[in-house]
């Protein structure tokens, strides 16, 4: 049967060349898209390292001197930082609030990011030791509770409690990079431009900026309330974020109720509340671009598959029409309907195989040249074969569906009638 199919394909080579070229081109495109979707979905499905359910951001602003209600802080007898802490304690007292965090450039799903370079020093040997750039989170212990950052064992409170001056909580990927020899807790690290060291307070699960971002080594540094009280000014105020976690009892009206009930309480001295936003909403806006791009790629898959289908239907439609005589003869000589269908589908799949091999070579070369996304995931053999496999199966399904339709005409043929065509 196999040699028969090969013979048939060869005798029809003029018509097959077109469909062969199309399948080859589509296979490369399909592999590229499947590969992209695969990296996206794998990334999307891996843990974020934090939990945003029930988390809200409170947007605070200061009124400007143009405002009639504005008074210099001296007249209030309190610093801007004191006022912010007063507001935070009022938020903490609101029913249903589990934790409140103060932080700077430390939120997931946002673009404000700070980085620092940390290194290790071996005074005895003077050896170069591992160093690395990490994202720099600056936050209160409450913030750790708000986002439920956790150690590998799942402990959040222990982590929050370990945040002290001169100590840093680091993510496990940062720990792996800096301390490949093992346990990092209690070890000493140095900033690039500083000779005073900081200690590792604890190791937490690795984190990402958002669902479509790769893991970034990060550390958390303690933001002390005394520092806020002493140093906060109107310029720095713009970079401070207040977040809260609502307890399990909070419903979907939490934000609206909070806003209504707290608006006057949070209008304090020169500070006011602009807005309260749920992190679900912040997340939706942040990942919008990636979600749309993913849909774009899915539309691409649809386009390619439909074209394969149309191409196969078109090619085989004419072919079966012209080969009715041959088919009739086969039926007359005892071929069953399913034999004929297998023959036709076999033809389609064999063309696919012939097209797929050169296409896979091209794809492999493209992959080796890092045309695909290698920043979030390395280009491995598993990734290549898995995506090729998916692309192959999808194309094979389309071809089978495309042959099925014209083949109906053949298998319902009566032998006598078919022979007339001959």
């Amino acid at each position: 049967m196999f040699t028969q199919i090969i013979k048939v394909i060869w005798s029809q080579r003029a018509g097959n060349a077109w469909i062969w070229a199309e399948i080859a081109l589509v296979s490369v495109c399909l592999w590229y898209i499947v590969d992209d979707l695969y990296t996206r979905i794998t990334l999307y499905a891996s843990p974020l390292g934090y939990d945003i359910t029930g988390v809200y951001a409170i947007d605070l602003r200061t009124i400007t001197p143009e405002n009639e209600q504005y008074r210099p802080q001296e007249e209030y007898g309190a610093s801007l930082g004191d006022d912010l802490l007063t507001i935070v304690s009022r938020i903490r007292a609101y029913p249903g609030v589990e934790a409140v965090g103060i932080s700077a450039a430390s939120l997931p799903y946002t673009y404000a990011r700070n980085y620092s370079h940390l290194r290790r020093v071996n005074y005895e040997t003077g050896d170069t030791l591992p160093s690395g750039t990490m994202r720099n989170y600056f936050a209160t212990p409450g913030y750790v509770n708000v986002f439920r950052y956790a150690t590998q064992e799942g402990a959040t409170d222990v982590l929050a409690g370990s945040l002290r001056p001169n100590y840093r909580i680091i993510t496990s990927d940062a720990a792996g990079k800096m301390f490949p020899e093992g346990d990092a807790t209690g070890k000493l690290m140095f900033y690039n431009d500083d000779s005073i060291g900081v200690y590792v307070a604890g190791v937490m699960n690795p984190i990402r900026f958002g669902d479509f971002d790769a893991y970034t080594p990060t550390y958390i540094r303690l933001l002390e309330e005394s520092v806020i009280a002493a140093e906060l000014n109107e310029f720095i105020f713009q970079g401070i974020d207040i977040t809260l976690r609502a307890g399990p009892g909070a419903d979907k009206d939490f934000a609206a109720n909070f806003r209504k009930e707290m608006q006057t309480q949070l209008r304090y001295h020169n500070i006011y509340m602009l807005n309260i936003r749920s992190f679900a909403d912040i997340r939706a806006r942040y990942i919008r671009g990636d979600v749309n791009e993913t849909k774009m790629y899915l539309a691409g898959v649809f386009f390619l598959l439909v074209n394969i289908f149309l191409g196969i239907v078109g090619t085989f439609f004419f072919r079966t029409e012209r080969r009715l005589g041959e088919m009739g003869l086969r039926i007359a000589l005892g071929s069953t309907a399913s034999n004929l269908r297998t023959l036709l589908i076999g033809e389609g799949l064999l063309i696919l195989l012939f097209a797929f091999i050169p296409a896979a070579v091209i794809s492999l070369n493209l992959g080796m040249q890092e045309v695909t996304d290698v920043e979030t995931m390395p280009f491995t053999a598993t990734r290549f074969f898995l995506c090729q496999g998916i692309a192959f199966v999808l194309t094979a399904l389309m071809i089978t569906a495309g042959v099925w339709f014209p083949s109906r005409k053949v298998i319902t043929l009566q032998p006598a009638e078919a022979l007339r065509y001959e």
Partner: protein, 423 residues
């Protein structure tokens, strides 16, 4: 000739309905996908109100302050724009715009309170962007100079606050500070991100806290430079570079860097922070995607056209026998096929408009656009653009040449005797 042609095409269509359907669906799908991309691109980059002058505007959206060991990147400070870009002589006008400032908007003793995007800018803003005023007029140079609290609001906000668009002269509170409405404009779609806001006021009516870490070079402002024509772009860039050099001479610790700016609208929409977009790379990417969208269906259709032509070989042979030249036959086959392509193309263009209308959320909205409060609305002015139809026709032509070129060439060159026998 034309009537014969149309008859011929209709005959071909009727002769094999299934194949005709496949050709039309294939063409329609390809043209729909291509045109959805083209329309999305037009919305991003073509000029429409109020960003009518995108083609002759240069953009400075990022400021980069560099010190040894560190750099700080953000928008620009007003001082920087005033000292570096305002004095430029070549451009028609230069505006400083701080948009995306979220403020609380209400009216004295009013119950409704809105969170709105406020744009702090200068009077030149109204020359760079072309707004249609529903009522009142923009604030003037004198208003900006003396920090008079006037505000232009959009129609939705006016109606939300007062229930009518006739609000000129009425008070409005911008985060507890009272302003007087001086003009009302139609809502601006967030796709016109440079001009977009819900309230526009003179930048002198509020305080921007200077960032002393960067010697007050970075801050909250973007700068838009309207050139008299695109041919002035090079001169403006050179003048801006000289101006920055002079400005940097007066900085104490660091330097301000333009990182390739002022740049065209195309480059500015793809800019990532300090890095200028790789324009060639983006064009290449678009070109590859378009090529695939054309090539895949073209191969498909080629196969089918070839089969169809095989059936018509006797007819071609007879035409030849009666003296039709190869060139004439070639053109005839291409024409016939073009008509078929155009039927599919028209259908495809219609589908792409439907797609853009109903799926604009995912075809057009980017992260930056979705960060704003306002609606990412589409209007006919943004999407129904003569260029779109010209592009659609050109793509049909390309698809036709790709899909019928080889079959037509081979058929028209067939040997007369073989052709008549249909070999």
């Amino acid at each position: 000739m034309n009537r014969v042609l149309i008859k011929q095409v209709l005959g071909t269509l009727r002769e094999n309905p299934l194949l005709s359907l496949i050709s039309i669906v294939g063409t329609a799908l390809a043209i729909a996908m291509i045109m959805a991309l083209v329309i999305a691109y037009e919305v991003k980059s073509a000029g429409y109100r109020p960003e009518t002058n995108r083609h002759r505007t240069l953009y400075v959206t990022r400021g980069n302050y560099v010190k040894p060991q560190s750099n700080s990147s953000s928008y620009n400070s007003f001082r920087l724009i005033k000292e570096v870009f305002y004095p430029l002589a070549t451009p028609q006008t230069v505006t400083a715009v701080s948009s995306g400032n979220e403020r609380l908007i209400s009216i004295p003793a009013g119950r409704n309170e809105y969170k709105a995007d406020v744009c702090y800018t200068d009077e030149r803003f109204w020359n760079v962007f072309e707004f249609r005023f529903l009522a009142g007029k923009p604030f003037t140079e004198e208003d900006v100079q003396s920090g008079i609290r006037k505000a232009v609001v959009n129609e939705s906000l006016a109606r939300g606050l007062y229930g009518t668009a006739e609000v000129v002269g009425k008070p409005v509170l911008v985060s507890f500070v009272e302003y007087t409405v001086c003009g009302v404009v139609p809502d601006v779609s967030t796709f016109a991100l440079s001009a977009y806001a819900e309230v526009w006021t003179p930048h002198t009516t509020t305080t921007f806290h200077p960032n002393m870490e960067t010697e007050d070079t970075t801050g909250n402002f973007c700068c838009y430079i309207l050139a008299r024509s695109r041919s002035d772009f090079t001169a403006i860039r050179e003048e801006a570079a000289r101006s920055v050099k002079q400005f940097n001479a007066n900085l104490r610790d660091g330097t301000y860097e333009l990182n390739g700016q002022p740049e065209t609208h195309f480059l500015s929409i793809y800019r990532q922070g300090n890095e200028q977009a790789n324009g060639r790379g983006i064009v290449l990417r678009y070109a590859i995607v378009l090529a695939i969208l054309l090539l895949v269906p073209a191969i498909n259709l080629s196969g089918m056209t070839l089969s169809r032509m095989k059936k018509r070989m006797p007819e071609i042979g007879i035409r030849k026998a009666f003296g039709a030249t190869s060139g004439r036959l070639l053109m005839q086959i291409l024409y016939e096929n073009l008509l078929l392509t155009l039927i599919g193309g028209a259908l495809g263009l219609a589908i792409s408009y439907l797609a853009v209308a109903f799926m604009s959320d995912w075809l057009l909205v980017t992260e930056t656009v979705s960060m704003r409060e306002g609606a990412a609305s589409l209007s006919a002015e943004m999407t129904v653009n003569p260029m779109v139809f010209i592009y659609a026709f050109l793509f049909c032509l390309a698809l036709n040449l790709l899909s019928a070129g080889i079959p037509a060439w081979r058929t028209s060159r067939a040997n007369i005797v073989h052709a008549i026998y249909g070999d």
